[in-house]
């Protein structure tokens, strides 16, 4: 079995990179990583620890151009059985192109390794259900939802080959990049603190940010809060926003409408803080605190800080 994995690596290897490499390794056979980005070879060689047999990094591709990246991957994957991507902005742009280019079945949003019958469990109905999808072609493409598997580390290193293969001129020209400093991207976050209308106003988000900071969590919000402009749209989690599956999701002042639950019920553990004991969110929660956010959150911040200081 030959597996190809695509990653993009700039300042560091992402958690998603470890996940896709580890996933491909568990499919069995060899794992060749095709990489773009400017991360030095020494850092890329750490992918060996997660099962990479070799890494080939193309220094000629310096952008996120899906057309160029897909063309490069296609050139190197003729005999590959599986092509594995993270189901992130890159995977969502490159993998569909490859499916058409290679005429290979594309299974997107995988949450687990293949079943004995060869089907792969995927997220459908925005987290309200799972589907099992089979590829009808011998070569298949899989995109893995972030935070779905725990990467295995072996401590090995692997060889890294630097190549310069220009793939033409990009047709999508990048004018600028806006990156909020020091924040954790939501889809990759392991811990998420989220708040809704129960907070009464955008001026009250300080304690949510404090709690997130104490935990090392990302911040999120419900749809109404993004719609009325209290919080930026990219923080909106739910059926029509970002779907997330962190290890811990803390929901403050969110009632838990079905559309919101859809985007977050892949979370491993859910904590709900709400003054209304009848809020539907408590039915989907593992731990609940019936109480006023303005009373509970400061106490929780205190407790987290004490815990962090003593561990």
């Amino acid at each position: 079995m030959k597996n190809i994995v695509f990653i993009q690596a700039n300042s560091a290897l992402s958690k998603a990179a470890y996940e896709v490499v580890s996933y491909a390794q568990q499919l069995g056979g060899t794992v060749k990583v095709l990489a773009t980005g400017n991360l030095p070879s020494e850092a890329l060689s750490a992918l060996g620890s997660y099962g990479a047999s070799e890494v080939v990094v193309n220094r000629a591709i310096t952008s996120n151009d899906d057309q160029m990246i897909a063309a490069w991957i296609a050139k190197h994957s003729e005999d590959a059985n599986n092509l594995v991507f993270s189901h992130d902005f890159n995977g969502k742009a490159i993998a569909p192109r490859l499916s058409v280019k290679l005429k290979a079945g594309f299974i997107s949003g995988a949450v687990a390794l293949p079943e004995p019958d060869g089907s792969v469990k995927v997220n459908v109905f925005s987290g309200k259900a799972f589907g099992y999808v089979k590829s009808n072609t011998a070569q298949r493409i899989i995109s893995l939802l972030p935070n779905s598997i725990v990467p295995n580390s072996t401590g090995n290193v692997c060889s890294v080959l630097e190549v310069n293969e220009p793939m033409g001129e990009p047709r999508v020209k990048v004018l600028s990049v806006k990156k909020p400093e020091g924040t954790i991207p939501l889809p990759e976050a392991e811990l998420v603190v989220s708040a809704g209308r129960g907070l009464k106003g955008p001026e009250n988000w300080g304690m949510i940010e404090d709690l997130a900071q104490a935990l090392g969590a990302a911040t999120a919000c419900s749809r109404p809060v993004a719609d009325i402009g209290w919080r930026p749209h990219h923080e909106h989690v739910g059926q029509t926003g970002v779907a997330i599956r962190p290890n811990l999701y803390i929901a403050v002042g969110i009632s838990g409408a079905i559309q919101h639950l859809a985007g977050v019920n892949g979370s491993k553990v859910i904590v709900v803080i709400n003054p209304d004991a009848e809020a539907p969110f408590f039915k989907a929660a593992d731990y609940g605190v019936v109480g006023d956010a303005f009373e509970v959150v400061p106490k929780l911040i205190e407790a987290v800080k004490n815990f962090r200081a003593n561990s």
Partner: protein, 246 residues
């Protein structure tokens, strides 16, 4: 300019999701279908805003059977000029994308818009597949789209941020929140939609590359453990020792 907006039907966002007894198919009993929100709220409405500001001819297209004409009339009522239905079962994204690309390839559309994903299959596959089949550039998960002459300026999601990009037409774009605001069709729109052209075409040579073999519902939570407001140390300790998430 000519804009093609790809729309798909999706169960209403409040739908309870259930499957047939053998878990092989989605149980459509009592399900109300809507236009997939990303296709309607962002792709279609932005196309209409472009029509209103710089002028455009907006065609909507879907792959499905005659029961899908209800959601197509809704899109026409919101303001699309004409509608095309490719008369086939939308078996997988590859099938839908190649059928749409095959229809679009000799019709010189300047811009093809899709939602970033559907709320029923969440694949994010269609736009990239159409782009590849039409050999067009593709901008995925765009939250802003402006047209100036033959050039599009867009903002799109990247890891932990936003990229501002520029691309020449023709192009394919998948649309996300931020691009436009939902519109409710008015009575005039609903009346006008009844007489707008709705063309039915037969797909050629389309095939599917993947199949759903089964569905499953997520396991129910075993019940919430309530913690007193004065006991936040206990909550932290449970998250650490019992749930092992911090």
């Amino acid at each position: 300019m000519k804009i093609l907006v790809c729309i798909s039907k999706a169960p209403d966002t409040t739908s309870k999701i259930a499957f047939t007894q053998d878990n092989s198919r989605f149980d459509e009993n009592g399900v109300q279908y809507i236009v997939n929100p990303y296709d309607e709220w962002y792709a279609l409405v932005r196309a209409l805003e472009i029509k209103e500001t710089v002028g455009a001819d907006v065609t909507i297209i879907t792959v499905g059977n005659s029961s899908d004409e209800a959601i197509m009339r809704k899109a026409l009522a919101i303001g699309a000029d004409e509608a095309v239905r490719i008369d086939a079962e939308p078996t997988d994204a590859y099938y839908v994308a190649t059928a749409i690309a095959d229809f679009a390839k000799d019709k010189s559309f300047d811009l093809v818009l899709t939602g970033k994903e559907t709320i029923n299959f969440n694949g994010s596959q269609l736009g990239g597949m159409i782009a590849e089949a039409l050999e067009s550039p593709y901008v995925s998960i765009a939250s802003k789209l402006d047209v100036s002459g033959n050039t599009l300026t867009l903002e799109r999601e990247i890891a932990g941020g936003v990229e501002v990009v520029e691309v020449s037409l023709p192009a394919v774009v998948s649309c996300a929140k931020g691009m436009a605001e939902q519109r409710i069709p008015n009575m005039r729109g609903i009346m006008a939609a009844r007489t707008k052209p709705l063309q039915v075409v037969v797909p050629k040579n389309a095939e599917q590359l993947t199949s759903y073999v089964a569905f499953a519902s997520p396991a129910a939570k075993s019940g919430v453990k309530l913690i007193d407001t004065n006991n936040m140390d206990e909550l932290v300790s449970l998250l650490h020792n019992e749930a092992k998430v911090i």
